[in-house]
């Protein structure tokens, strides 16, 4: 089904929107989440929560790409879950304190932070656009979709070792690009 039709279903509060989203993008979302969490149960929950968030946010949102929109939600939910798991695993130390205190951080982000975050996104996008397509796709498949080196190496018929070298060089390129634009994190 076309993305626009699924989005229309969200807008008209038709619950089939979730089923259609799941049919079309369920596997992709599971992959994104699992690549971050390495845990079946947790990633399953994150994917389900993704549909919930999508349901709550459409309307008012009307995304151009449903894949990117849902993928973004899944990435955010999964990384938050990962941080929470991580803090819990490490027990009662600073991790737990920081994690609990993070509840106090006013959300949404302050205007200043938001501008800063947007600028960083734009810098990264500019850098991505300057790359040859194959490198751009490789970088995003690794760091946006979280695909493993093994599966990426299989796709481009090389060894994970060689691919790791290629990705390492890309990371260093990004660092110099960020440095050149005076980005401080």
């Amino acid at each position: 089904m076309e993305d626009t039709r699924i989005i229309d279903m969200y807008w008209s509060r038709n619950e089939a929107a979730i089923r259609e989203s799941s049919t079309k993008y369920g596997r992709m979302l599971k992959r994104i989440s699992f690549n971050i969490l390495s845990n079946d149960g947790d990633s399953e929950e994150c994917v389900n929560d993704t549909y919930g968030k999508a349901w709550d946010s459409m309307p008012p949102q009307k995304p151009n790409s449903l894949a990117a929109y849902l993928g973004r939600i899944a990435r955010n939910l999964s990384i938050n879950r990962w941080h929470a798991n991580h803090a819990r695993k490490r027990g009662c130390g600073a991790d737990a304190l920081i994690s609990e205190l993070s509840d106090c951080i006013p959300s949404p982000l302050s205007t200043e932070e938001e501008t800063e975050a947007r600028a960083l996104s734009e810098t990264i996008s500019r850098w991505l656009n300057s790359l040859p397509q194959d490198d751009r796709v490789l970088f995003l498949r690794r760091y946006w979709f979280g695909d493993s080196l093994n599966s990426l190496a299989a796709e481009c018929a090389t060894t994970p070792n060689k691919l790791a070298g290629r990705i390492y060089r890309l990371r260093h390129k990004l660092r110099s690009a960020l440095e050149k634009e005076g980005v401080t994190l």
Binding site: H83, S125, L140, R141, W144, N161, A164, G165
Partner: protein, 458 residues
Amino acid sequence: MKEKKLFDALTNIPDELVEEARKTKLKPTVRPWKKWTALAACVALAIVMVSILPRGGSPSEGALLDVVLPKAYAYDDFGAKQAAIDVNPVDDAFLKALDEFSYKTASQIVAGQSGNTNYSPLSLYYALAMAASGAEGETADELLSLLGVSDPSTLSKQSGNLYRQLYTDNAIAKLKIANSLWMNKKVSWKNKFIKNAAANFYTSSFSMDFSDKKTGEEMAKWVSEHTDGILKPEIEITQDQILSILNTVYFYDEWVNKFKEAETTEDAFYLSDGSTEHSNFMNAKYASADFAKGEGFTRSALSLKNDSRMVFILPDEGVSPQELLSSPEKAKAAFEGGQDGHGEVVWQIPKFRFGTKLDLKDALIRLGLTSAFEQNADFSGITDKRASLTGVRQETHIGIDENGVEASAFTEILYAGGAAPLSKDRAEMVLNRPFIYGITAPNGALLFIGICENPLEK
């Protein structure tokens, strides 16, 4: 939290970029081998020195100095592997010297043999480099000239770095070089030599009684232990022996893509004497691969999982492998020269497994290493006693097949193959007559060079 900012910024890149990455397949970066195999090779090298001994002796016996091997990294610990290479730089000049040594010695050693021959240039290089670190005067000059490095301390340092770069011991592959010094307990040794041997050549030193037969058995046991039990040499010792350098290389890796056992077929292998044997051939066809065609040969290579490669050189009909290795220049041309091509490569490789015992003394003398074997040899960096080399022997074993000899007790990594053919160029690597092979480390160093004359010969 910095990483989190970067992660979030990446999350929010424009939709088009996400869509592109989602829909676009990665281009194949290297030739897509279709199959997968395992391969094992090992070598033991012994250098023996003798001298005239005084009566009586020092009381110590057994291990003098044991070594701590470099850290080995997991197969997929790419960062750590890269770091090991970064902190142990090996100069191009050193690799070039090692390369030239390989071709120079192979043209003397391998080309002069009949039958199946397996030879490890790297192993010989290590043993001679260690001997050079204790040589002085003319003996040192000859050794350094053969090894292609002018300064002994550079030689030691670079050997050490290369060792740390190459050392591999993970679930899939092993490349272990082991060295040991077996010294007569009646002789006093220079500490500096033993320490340098431990630091840069990862050499364990033993002080032994060479009048006791058990010493030979101990040495054989050491070789067996360091070659995973594949080599079980018989080591003869003599009373006047003062020093033996034992060196082993154990190599094990798997084809990036396994050969399908079901596609292994029996076929004819044409021996150089005109007769025919029937051998099992592994078969594979790659739509898009690199190869080279040179004067008298076709060459292509198969990748191994830890970035080593096995190179196969098929002489044209009527050309013998020995001819292609008959001079250092020809050997280099066979391994590195020729016109590069890219296209379909059809592989037919006989399974083989054999061992070689080589006495390298004569070849080394022909290569200019004369004084080391003579009475007036100068190894005063090793001991104040008069000592000379009496023998240099290398024993090796190699075997290749579809699955591996002791392989597969680990998680299999799956690779997909099958890129579209990029050109109409093609090469047939149908190895149904005597051929040359080589195994190269990720940095190109030649671990083994050999000739397979008859895959059925053990």
